[in-house]
């Protein structure tokens, strides 16, 4: 449950996963060893999202892993999710923390020094750092790549667990961990694949190996 022990963080994407249900993707990801699954679906209404979230929360509970809702703190509260992840445009981080107190898990995105400072000051439980590499699926809101140097910078600046995100795959995951990330967050690297479970497992092996040799 503690973010400092995370290795693989999987974010769902209905379209990229070939319209396979979120629940199926979550189940496969957990079977493959994902520590966290984040539900992210901007296309569902809040009412639909709550239903989906309840289903995923149940799956996470059965694996004794973590379930996180993207963006909507109210949906996270109503679904009894373990956490919520907010981007910089989603919600001011201190305001998010005040209505979503510990031990609930609050994650915040940081792609600039300012965002990093605000996330740290708000006392979030983990920081989503990125986009590390060029991504093709989230062009609109992700911004330009921050590179491995920003992970190193963030690692120096704070002890808060860092979840690296953006263009991470089996080939570059080790470099991200070596730069100081606690865990890697992936979408397309695993949810596009037919065998999500196997893909997550291979990624987890890469991350654990990189941690051992760090």
């Amino acid at each position: 449950m503690d973010p400092s022990g995370w290795s693989v963080y999987v974010i769902t994407d209905y379209r990229l996963s070939g319209m396979r249900p979120h629940a199926l993707v979550a189940e496969e990801a957990f079977r493959g060893g994902a520590d966290v699954v984040q539900l992210r679906d901007k296309g569902q209404t809040p009412g639909e999202l709550l239903k989906t979230a309840r289903g995923l929360r149940e799956i996470a509970e059965s694996f004794k892993r973590v379930f996180i809702v993207n963006d909507r703190i109210d949906i996270a509260l109503a679904s009894l999710a373990h956490g919520v992840h907010v981007g910089y445009d989603d919600f001011p981080y201190p305001a998010a923390r005040s209505i979503y107190p510990k031990p609930l898990l609050l994650g915040a995105s940081a792609g600039t020094a300012l965002e990093l400072r605000e996330a740290c000051a708000a006392g979030v439980d983990y920081i989503g750092v990125g986009p590390v590499f060029e991504t093709w699926e989230a062009k609109g809101d992700a911004g330009s790549p921050v590179g491995l140097s920003f992970i190193k910078e963030a690692r120096k600046a704070t002890d808060i667990p860092l979840v690296a995100i953006g263009g991470i795959n089996h080939e570059n995951a080790a470099s991200v961990i070596k730069a100081g990330a606690t865990a890697v967050a992936v979408i397309s690297a695993v949810v596009c694949e037919d065998e999500i479970c196997g893909s997550v497992k291979r990624l987890r092996d890469v991350v654990l190996e990189a941690k051992r040799s760090r």
Binding site: I73, D74, I75, L77, A78, V86, D90, A95, A96, S98
Partner: protein, 212 residues
């Protein structure tokens, strides 16, 4: 009629795109100056961060005038600015779920049929809007206007305050209040888009109060 904490008869709903000069907050201040007692912030095309900022400003403004503030759909935003309540739509999470997480805030619900009005009451809604009563561009997605007869039916069927919504303006209020017998009226453009929001608000309040 059980009215709970619903101490307002005119429910002003926002749409910043309709606000004329000065922007939404200035329009709201004029309306509050005239005595509007409740505002629902309904701005669906803003980022959460921007909505939070606007809601914070609207909270300060409504507090200064002793008026209630409701936030549409976003219970998290409502909680974080300590709004008086949330207003839920058909696409929002169910009233019962909202009640569980909203820390005692008042919950309003939009309804477009007798059936959904009854269900919202059962789930614990504190008040309803019902409509569209008349034809109005902003509510065309919800089907043909329900009319005052249907409104009266809903008002009779539920025990919580019902606000008539959709095409409400100074010259339709008399008919709506007399024939539909709602607790009050809800409106957007008749005040927000008015050349003088303050004067429009005063007129709407006066027309509604006659029937209170």
């Amino acid at each position: 009629m059980e009215t709970g904490e619903i101490d307002f008869r005119v429910y002003l709903i926002t749409d910043r795109h309709q606000a004329k000069r000065g922007g939404l907050l200035e329009v709201l201040e004029e309306a509050l100056e005239s005595g509007i007692g409740a505002i629902q912030l309904r701005e669906k095309d803003m980022t959460g961060r921007d909505l939070f900022q606007l809601a914070s400003e609207a909270r300060k403004l409504t507090a200064r005038y002793g008026a209630k503030l409701f936030v549409n759909d976003r219970i998290d935003v409502a909680l974080s600015v300590t709004a008086d309540g949330v207003h839920l739509g058909e696409a929002s999470i169910p009233v019962a779920d909202a009640k569980r997480i909203c820390g005692g805030m008042t919950v309003g619900r939009s309804t477009h049929s007798l059936q959904s009005a009854k269900r919202a009451e059962e789930e614990g809604a504190d008040f309803l809007t019902f409509g569209p009563v008349f034809k109005t561009p902003s509510k065309e997605a919800f089907g043909p206007p329900a009319g005052v007869v249907k409104l009266a039916e809903v008002v009779r069927a539920v025990g919580i305050p019902v606000f008539a919504l959709g095409g409400i303006k100074p010259d339709t209020i008399d008919r709506v209040m007399a024939e539909g017998k709602p607790f009050g009226v809800a409106l957007i453009s008749a005040i927000i888009a008015a050349p003088s929001p303050g004067k429009a608000a005063a007129l709407v309040l006066e027309k509604t109060a006659v029937h209170g």
